[in-house]
């Protein structure tokens, strides 16, 4: 294989779907920054529409060992995460996701109905990210438990890297106690992801 082809080797392409305000953008960025901490090349970028809370939104994360040259959006992701399964009624979240890919949905049960809604024949994973977030933080920020689930299933980054990035980003903003709660949410997501 030619050297220049090796340079364009995208190891991981993830899409994080949700509703504006749920933290798809910051989740995608936390993941990218954790990988960046580990010495990887990264891109993290949201797809913008008309900005309003509650509208469907998607953010992308690319992680690679070599420089990421292309600025195109991800059309064939390795992993798709869905922060609000309701958007699956209007958005084809699993479009381009191969059957060998991973679909993680914020849900209490991995029902046939969700699978049908997603039109995805590979393995569906669930994590009750809203439940975890409500229990620990008292508000619905499902992005952090979702990242824990992702790490469990892919080992794409180390848990410690995400924890460090969480702390670096949020300590000044939300204080130590809430940072700890976010880290607990991350770990709960890691432990509680199910098929």
């Amino acid at each position: 294989m030619h050297d220049w082809f090796q340079e364009w080797f995208c190891k991981f392409c993830g899409a994080l779907h949700g509703r504006a305000g749920q933290g798809a953008k910051s989740g995608s960025q936390l993941l990218a920054e954790a990988a960046f901490k580990e010495g990887k090349y990264i891109q993290s970028f949201p797809e913008y529409g008309s900005e309003r809370r509650g509208a469907p939104t998607v953010s992308y994360t690319k992680i690679a060992d070599k420089v990421l040259k292309s600025h195109e959006p991800i059309v064939t992701p390795d992993v798709v995460m869905v922060l609000d399964f309701g958007i699956m009624r209007s958005i084809m979240v699993a479009a381009g996701l191969p059957d060998t890919g991973i679909l993680i949905v914020n849900t209490r049960v991995c029902s046939q109905e969700i699978k049908k809604l997603a039109q995805f024949s590979g393995t569906l994973y669930g994590v009750d990210a809203t439940g975890i977030s409500m229990e620990l933080l008292g508000m619905d920020t499902p992005n952090v438990p979702m990242l824990g689930a992702l790490v469990k299933l892919t080992s794409i980054v180390k848990m410690e890297s995400i924890e460090e990035v969480l702390r670096a980003h949020f300590l000044a903003k939300i204080g130590e106690e809430k940072v700890q709660k976010n880290i607990s949410m991350l770990r709960r997501g890691y432990e509680e992801v199910f098929k």
Partner: protein
């Protein structure tokens, strides 16, 4: 060696502005430029810079205030996009004639109508004739370095002209990428302070600025402005060499990528040049000899150097992210002009892509290469990439 950070193109512009520490920053928010001045406002609030930040009521006022500050002798900067630049236009056009080295970060966004917040180059291509130096950036790293370079080019005594540093709206401005930020002290030394030679507030050397100039002298003013623009090439090279000492990188007028033995070359500005590099890599992996030319310095336009770089290329496709309705597209026009003087001219094809933020994919640029190699060209008509039928 600098510090590597994961930041957006907008933050990269703000980081450069932090290190430049201008006397005055004037801005009015507009998507997708807003995060630049938002970030910079934090530096002001935190006392990281000692800039006088002036929030104004419109972009017309923003550029007017920047003109006032620069006339007084300050180093002033601003940032805008699309409609913001359009509203500034009257003052934007006056700035080069006033010979004020204002640096503006332009986050490229489509012009209304229909209204659209996403990337294309219709904003900048509407001001390329009024005399600003125009520099384009492929990614956040280039945004950062080009902004540092811009200040020195603008303020050089041979130039004294305003500069716009372009980056693609959202694609670059809102994407997090690794960016190497160089040492504050080294950069501070590099950017220096603006000379007060022409400061209006230097009352010992009283002068008039912006007087009425009638047919007896207006023409000569404009000829002098052209002379200053022609000096940009040597100044850009010199300043680039100085910046290289800090960054270890080169600052050419344009970048060539696998063009040496290429049978077909694509020309494209800003972030799509990165995507085109991925397309070149994929084609080269199949043994196809294709390459890319990415313009960086677009005003002044380096005709002779471009001609030299492309003289042996059989076929060239130029991709424009804006249209010049009823005429050849702006980047294509310049390349056709540049190659006109060749005895044996390459075949050329004009393409329009990405208007209003329409995605441009690696596979679409590969298809352009295939078309260029096939020889099935239409010199009389521009073609459209990714246009729905």
């Amino acid at each position: 060696m600098g510090v590597r950070k994961a930041i957006t193109g907008a933050q990269a512009a703000a980081e450069a502005m932090r290190q430049i520490n201008p006397d005055v920053v004037v801005a009015y928010p507009i998507t997708p430029q807003t995060p630049i001045v938002e970030e910079f406002a934090k530096y002001v609030a935190d006392g990281v810079v000692d800039t006088e930040m002036v929030p104004v009521e419109s972009e017309h006022s923003a550029m007017s205030a920047a003109v006032g500050a620069e006339t007084a002798g300050a180093r002033a900067m601003s940032a805008t996009s699309s409609q913001g630049l359009a509203l500034m236009w009257e003052v934007v056009a006056a700035t080069p004639g006033l010979r004020l080295p204002i640096v503006v970060s332009l986050v490229n966004r489509a012009l209304s109508a229909p209204i659209n917040i996403h990337c294309d180059h219709s904003d900048v291509m509407g001001v390329t004739t009024v005399g600003w130096v125009q520099i384009f950036s492929e990614n956040a790293q280039e945004v950062y370095e080009n902004t540092l370079l811009a200040v020195r080019v603008a303020e050089d005594s041979r130039v004294q002209l305003p500069v716009m540093v372009n980056q693609d709206g959202f694609i670059t401005s809102h994407a997090v990428e690794p960016v190497e930020i160089f040492d504050d002290a080294l950069v501070e030394k590099f950017v220096g302070v603006r000379s007060l030679d022409r400061a209006l507030l230097d009352v010992e050397h009283a002068k008039s600025v912006g007087p009425l100039v009638l047919p007896d002298h207006y023409f000569e003013f404009k000829r002098a402005q052209e002379e200053a623009m022609s000096k940009v090439f040597e100044v850009y090279r010199e300043v680039g060499t100085e910046l290289s000492a800090i960054t270890g990188k080169q600052y050419p007028f344009f970048e060539t990528y696998h063009t040496d033995d290429a049978e077909a070359v694509v020309v494209v500005l800003n972030s799509a040049a990165g995507t085109a590099k991925a397309a070149v890599d994929a084609m080269r992996a199949q043994g196809k000899r294709v390459g890319l030319l990415k313009p960086i310095l677009f005003r002044p336009f380096p005709y002779a150097e471009i001609r030299e770089a492309l003289k042996d290329i059989p076929v060239i496709g130029v991709l424009d992210r804006s249209m010049d309705f009823g005429a050849c597209a702006p980047v294509y026009s310049e390349f056709r002009n540049a190659l006109w003087a060749l005895g044996k001219r390459p075949a050329m094809q004009s393409y329009i892509y990405g208007l209003g933020g329409r995605d441009i994919m690696t596979t679409e640029i590969e298809a352009v290469f295939e078309e260029l190699l096939s020889g099935k060209l239409d010199a009389e008509h521009q073609r459209y990439i990714g246009l729905r039928g």
